[in-house]
């Protein structure tokens, strides 16, 4: 009974109606085209805070950000239940202010007020994002060629930002605080030159790198999220046990394929979500490490500095793939390389170990497999011969007298062989 009733409830998005009594016939309202979404927004934001659409620094696609003139930018992270799990949110009216701000329709407060069940159990969480990352696209060299950029005035950069999206333009004009915010962050990552009254800026890769490394260090210090830790640290440093290599190598195989799929999936996800709502997906969290991902093999005797390096690199990779414009990636990666040389050698060693283990595995696999048809003749002959030999021996054994068998059991230790007493003679013909 309960089952049949709950099924339709899930498929139809409906207002939480009072207990459906058979007497009162109340049709369910049709599901709205623009259902409310559930957000977790930061506290203490100013009333001017709003959701804006800006270009995602990493992939240039328009994405939603939450902007507060006082506190800066927030990015949205969607936490979604796995597709197979049928989950939904029950929203009731009391805390309806947030619902209001998100979804512009006025009457929604009343809608929520009576309670609402959303079809999708997504939760959108706003987390602070460094303004730095959002202005990076403007600072980035326009093409790979003009790496030697010119110093530009601050206003030129602002113009560039404003031209990139209308929301930037609006924000910059409406919010005086934003300008100072942007300038402060720019100072951190730019070389500056004073030209008269004006200060000129140019992006500095090394400064940017310092900022990134600092962020990464902090991330490592607090401990990587378990999913990252498990996938990129633990698995990567697993040293295959040569005796049991089978397990090991399957593991490595799956981890590789996994990374591949999540990468692709994440990209797709982020584009679709950004157009439709905003946000980088929960999946993006695990995406990172495009370039380093594959050779992630762990180690028994992993020196602690290697562990630290790997964590650092993982978080750096995560940061750069999630927030850096692609044009920065090559220079950043190459600048980081020397720092990670010991890690590379360690990982390479593990990779060789793994491949060895894999090779061994395939050998042993082959042996355990049924013999192929072509070997059959040889094998059969061989076995026949063995069998015959064995039969002969068995026969001989059977013929052996009881006395001979008993003598075999005699402990002959301490007894020398006859040949040590008597000399051998060539047999007379």
């Amino acid at each position: 009974m309960a089952r049949t009733r709950s099924n339709p409830a899930k498929t139809v998005t409906k207002e939480s109606t009072p207990e459906p009594t058979p007497s009162t016939i109340k049709p369910l309202p049709t599901s709205t085209a623009n259902p409310p979404k559930l957000f977790v927004l930061p506290k203490n934001t100013s009333t001017d805070a709003r959701i804006v659409t800006l270009d995602n620094p990493a992939n240039g696609t328009p994405s939603r950000y939450y902007f507060c003139p006082a506190n800066g930018f927030y990015e949205f992270t969607r936490i979604a239940a796995p597709k197979k799990d049928c989950r939904s949110w029950l929203l009731t009216g009391e805390k309806s202010e947030y619902g209001n701000t998100n979804t512009s329709a006025e009457e929604q407060s009343t809608r929520i007020g009576s309670g609402y069940i959303t079809n999708s159990a997504d939760l959108l969480i706003a987390t602070p994002i460094d303004t730095l990352f959002l202005i990076l696209p403007a600072l980035a060299p326009k093409s790979a060629k003009d790496m030697k950029q010119h110093f530009l005035a601050f206003d030129d950069y602002l113009d560039m930002l404003a031209s990139s999206s209308s929301h930037w333009k609006a924000l910059l004009s409406q919010c005086p605080t934003l300008k100072t915010m942007v300038e402060k962050r720019m100072c951190v990552i730019c070389d500056t030159v004073d030209a008269g009254l004006e200060t000129m800026y140019r992006i500095s890769t090394s400064k940017l790198l310092d900022v990134l490394v600092k962020k990464a260090e902090r991330m490592v210090q607090h401990g990587l999220p378990p999913s990252l830790e498990e996938k990129f640290i633990k698995t990567a440093l697993d040293v295959p046990v040569l005796n049991i290599k089978r397990e090991e190598s399957t593991l490595s195989a799956t981890s590789i394929t996994e990374t591949g799929t999540t990468d692709g999936g994440a990209d797709k996800d982020s584009t679709t979500t950004s157009t439709e709502s905003q946000i980088s997906l929960e999946t993006t969290i695990t995406t990172p490490t495009d370039d380093f991902d594959i050779p992630l093999k762990p180690t028994l005797a992993t020196p602690p500095e290697i562990l630290h390096l790997l964590r650092l690199r993982t978080s750096l990779t995560y940061l750069s793939t999630s927030y850096l414009p692609t044009s920065f990636l090559p220079s950043i990666t190459s600048a980081l390389k020397p720092r990670f040389t010991p890690l590379e050698t360690h990982l390479a060693a593990i990779t060789t170990l793994k491949s060895e283990a894999f090779a061994l595995r395939s050998i042993s696999d082959n042996m355990s497999r049924k013999r192929s048809i072509e070997e059959d003749d040889d094998r059969v002959a061989e076995r026949e011969q063995k069998k015959r030999k064995k039969e002969e021996e068995d026969k001989k054994k059977k013929q052996e007298g009881r006395g001979i068998k008993q003598l075999k059991k005699v402990d002959t230790s301490g007894m020398k062989k006859m040949s040590s007493f008597f000399t051998k003679v060539a047999k007379k013909a």
Partner: protein
Amino acid sequence: MLEARLEQANVLKKVVEAIKDLVQDCNFDCNDSGIALQAMDNSHVALVSMLLSSAAFAPYRCDRNIALGINLGSLTKVLKAAGTEDWLTIKAEDAPDVVNLVFETKDADRISEYDIKLMDIDQEHLGIPETDYAATITMPSVEFQRICRDLSALSESVSIECSKEGVKFACQGDIGSGSVFLKQIEKVDKPNETVKIEMTEPVSLTFSLKYLVNFCKATGLSGTVQLSLSSEVPLLVQYDLQDQSYLRFYLAPKIGDEE
């Protein structure tokens, strides 16, 4: 070609019976002096040497030296078909594939004939020098057999101590120990019961009882047995047959780990 007739099939029967529990296959080397056999057991600590001299056969004819490789189990089977009193004739070609055995009853009423396939046996042949033993004991074969049997119930090995007074067979086992002492005694009327010791110096050696018991299967061949001992050389157990024929067993002494 070989043709040798034995007046009593029994002799060969008993010889084969005595050694078939020590060796499986062996070569019967036939030459004009007779039929000889030498073989070692599987662990090469014991050796059996037999000679049926040509004098034991009537007639005996052997043109060339022939080695007849025979499985003793097969030979036993065939010999079972022979009556104890039957005449036994052994025949073989010069380069034989088979050995032919003919059993005739005394009155020649019944003649049975068997062929045994021969086998190529690659065996070491050891030269056994004439040895002057420190002690030689002659005693009734039945007595020796009994001593070996009795002591083997207690232990794996027996020490044979020979002195002027007599010979002592002693053993120690898990359940206890035992010994048999035989004094030198001469019985003129019953020479088979005589215990005679000829020695130049006292000897004491230890031997595996299982092997000795095995040797004792030859007891039926002779009323007396000779044990010849010298330290550091194999024990010789000899059963004398008629007409300078003999059956000899050699057994390596146990050295070192005497319990």
